[in-house]
Amino acid sequence: MSPHERRNFFRGLGFTSLWIIGLGTFTAYPVVASLYYSFCDYSILKAPVWSGLENYQQLVSDDLFWKSLGNTLFYAALSVPIGTVIALALALLLNQPVRGRSVFRVIFYLPSIVPVIAATMLWTWMLNGQYGLVNAMLSPLLKPFGLTPPVWVYDPTWTKPALVLMSLWGTGNAMVIYLAGLQNVPKELYEAAEIDGASAWQRLRHVTLPMLAPVIYFNVTMATIGALQAFAQAWMMSAATGSEGADGSPARSTLFYTVYLFSTAFYNLKMGYASAMAYVLFIIIATLTYIGTRLSRDRVEGAQ
């Protein structure tokens, strides 16, 4: 390195020094330590003892691991697509020349910044099987068909749909992103399509969606990663409905991956096992991110 280059190098290091410390202490070291722990029998009160692949072997045969993974995937598979469709639909509506658009935008957006802890509290109450507002509204609608609404958070088959419903309420964030994306779509494209006699549906199908594709892929990927790490809502809903000491109540239907991981690490003190779980999640997320970016890139290139 020339003296000039060296000076620049140290200047660069100087500006990024905080991040070098932060990256090392709060990310790199934990990532490495976690990998090591995942091969150990470790509780924080006792020294780690190497146990080889035991944690990973046990994971494969641990029903709760599969159950919690299944619960989480189920939640993600419902909340992400439905949330995306709703966010897109709202954005398309708001992209029309409607009066009071900014008011509507605020109404749709606000729920998404409500602290998840308060949102869960509110929805657990909204979805109360007996006194909740949701069932009070559903009952008269379902009555003609001889149906009664579910008891939601007390019924294992309905707890995840309840959490999905709650997540849909917070979909305003994505809506704002799509709205911004829509406003970037060149007007000329629509005009050209209209001249070609394209219907509204065809314009959506052949102009809007392809133009939005990169944004959609990016957001779907982020939303999926977020859904896979969902913790507070499941943790709280379980605490609100469960028997003392139950994880993922009722009947482990809200035992999400991170909930199981947290209680494995900090209730059962099996921190090595929890680290192995964390690494499996890491791999899943890395794979999804890779697929997401690949799809997004291909799509963008295809569109051009």
């Binding site: 200047r11 991040w19 932060g22 990310t27 509506l93 749709f108 602290p115 990169p214 890395a286």
Partner: protein, 381 residues
């Protein structure tokens, strides 16, 4: 259909009507939970838990022993009987409800106050927050109960006193803790990331791009991977059970904010820096005097979003905090909910309202920042 298509004006009007219908309908659905939240927070518990649900909080009044009191309607009595005071024996001083048979059996032990009919209400003196006192009660005809509309604002102080699952630590303490974590975190986020991002955006140095790629790669690491070792890190620093782990990392940058600010810094014309360099300004001065003042929007975006993140964070406090007096609002609310294995919905809704309110206020202060910030962060910058 044929008519509609033959008349473009009508068709447009129909289309607009459908759009407005959809938008207003959706807005109602999105706003309803907020209304229900506030309505529930202003009711007494037995009205929050009543069928059919009502949005209007009410208060009931009746006379017990000649004193007009606010009462709760506990339940309808299903059989005839007597309200009686016990004037002798083991239960001396108590008031009991007995049927004719038992009244006859206990004889002079009881002093009959009055007889009751099926369908009367068992009512008790309303007492929130009772620890020791015993409420007065009676069984009265439905007709003598007087009902008024009254929002119960006192739910708010009562709920806030119970936050954290204890009345020992005041709400102000939780608020102070939360603000401490939020404000220090925001300060740390804004400054550390700006400095680091400057190093990535405006300086050329060997290894910069590789390091930046590494930085971006860390965004993929899910928090659970870091959780156990991070706990160990803060443990060896002796910081478990303090608020420090919740704000300290903000002072050392975060990949996402570095990325965000770098994008912004790169959009500032290079000529500005060059001119300053020719004038003999140091890089730090350029950063501080030229770049930062031009970067307010991105700084505010990062700051506001960190504030939201810290305000909402639940897992961090759950992991690091041990003493109730160190709690942040989010975890104080959750402890309140999980305490004693049950749910006092009216208080929970009041406390939730209080926790949501600052976020909404923040939103109205910085609405533009929010909308722009999300749009840029969400679309890959």
């Amino acid at each position: 259909m044929a008519e509609a298509s033959s008349d473009p004006a009508l068709r447009r009007a129909t289309k607009r009507a459908v759009i407005y219908l959809l938008i207003v309908g959706a807005a109602l659905l999105f706003a309803m939970p907020f209304v229900w939240l506030v309505a529930s927070s202003l009711k007494p518990i037995e009205q929050a838990m009543s069928l059919p649900p009502s949005f209007v909080p009410r208060a009931h009044y009746a006379s017990i022993d000649g004193v007009r009191l606010e009462i709760t309607r506990d339940y309808l009595v299903s059989g005839p009987g007597f309200v009686a005071d016990v004037v002798a024996g083991e239960q001396l001083g108590r008031r009991v409800f007995v049927n004719a048979e038992e009244a006859a059996k206990r004889g002079t032990e009881l002093r009959i106050v009055h007889a009751t009919q099926p369908g009367w209400w068992h009512v008790s003196e309303r007492m929130e927050a009772t620890d020791k006192r015993v409420p007065r009660w009676d069984i009265v005809e439905a007709g003598v109960i007087e009902t008024k509309i009254r929002p119960r604002w006192e739910n708010y102080p009562a709920a806030l006193n119970r936050l954290g699952g204890t009345d020992r630590v005041s709400f102000w303490r939780f608020l102070g803790n939360t603000l401490l974590v939020c404000v220090l975190g925001v300060v740390g986020t804004v400054f550390s990331n700006a400095i680091v991002a400057y190093g990535f955006a405006r300086l050329k140095w060997k290894g910069r791009d590789a390091f930046f790629a590494l930085t971006l790669a860390t965004m993929m690491v899910p928090f659970p991977v870091l959780m156990v070792p991070l706990y160990g890190v803060f443990r060896s620093l002796g910081l478990i059970g303090s608020l420090v782990p919740l704000w300290l990392p903000a002072f050392f940058g975060s990949a996402f904010n570095i990325f965000l600010m770098r994008q912004f810094f790169r959009s500032i014309p290079e000529e500005l820096s060059e001119a300053a360099r020719i004038d003999g300004c140091s890089e730090w001065r350029i950063f501080w005097r030229i770049i930062l003042p031009l970067s307010k929007p991105v700084l505010i975006t990062a700051g506001v979003f960190h504030f939201l993140y810290a305000w909402n964070d639940f897992l961090g406090p759950l992991l690091y905090l041990t003493r109730t007096e160190d709690y942040t609002l989010a975890i104080a609310l959750q402890s309140f909910q999980s305490q004693a294995g049950g749910v006092q919905w009216h208080y929970l809704m009041a406390a939730s309202t209080v926790i949501i309110l600052p976020v909404i206020v923040l939103f109205f202060f910085a609405q533009k920042t929010f909308v722009q910030g999300i749009a840029t962060t969400g679309s890959k910058g």
